[in-house]
Symmetry: C2
Subunit: 82 residues, 2 copies
């Protein structure tokens, strides 16, 4: 079994309205040390071993479902758990 973490965030060039909203809220709470906030999606996947390489499965999942490649970029960490 593999434990996979996928991180999907807006590309740098894309405005992140949610991140801006949270940053404003953070400053209203007087956390003035916070210079920037960006928000993304985080997926924890459990993937069983199979004939297919797990990285290939994860790449296809990201491209087909988890990330919108026009606006978002993704990265992932794969750990073998048992």
């Amino acid at each position: 079994m593999y434990q996979v973490e996928v991180f999907v965030t807006y590309k740098e060039s894309i405005l992140d309205p949610q991140g801006e909203a949270v940053k404003n809220a953070v400053h209203r709470l007087e956390f003035n040390e916070v210079a920037d906030v960006r928000i993304g999606k985080y997926f924890e996947l459990k993937i069983e071993k199979s004939q297919r390489p797990v990285a290939e499965i994860v790449e296809e999942l990201c491209q087909q479902l988890l990330a919108n490649e026009v606006l978002e970029s993704y990265r992932y960490d794969i750990k073998e758990v048992n």
Copy 2:
């Protein structure tokens, strides 16, 4: 400056309807190796150095704003960038 990643996920005991929905979609796309999907929020924060310890700032941010501790748990990674 610190680069902080915050991961907020539902507690294990809490049903994750979004995760279930994505899992069903994943199976419809015939990724049958995927055993489980859990979804969470991912924050990238840039925090300037100050008198206050950065971990203390992040803890307070999580408790006051980023996570709902009744339903969610959080963890974070802090990297000093310059």
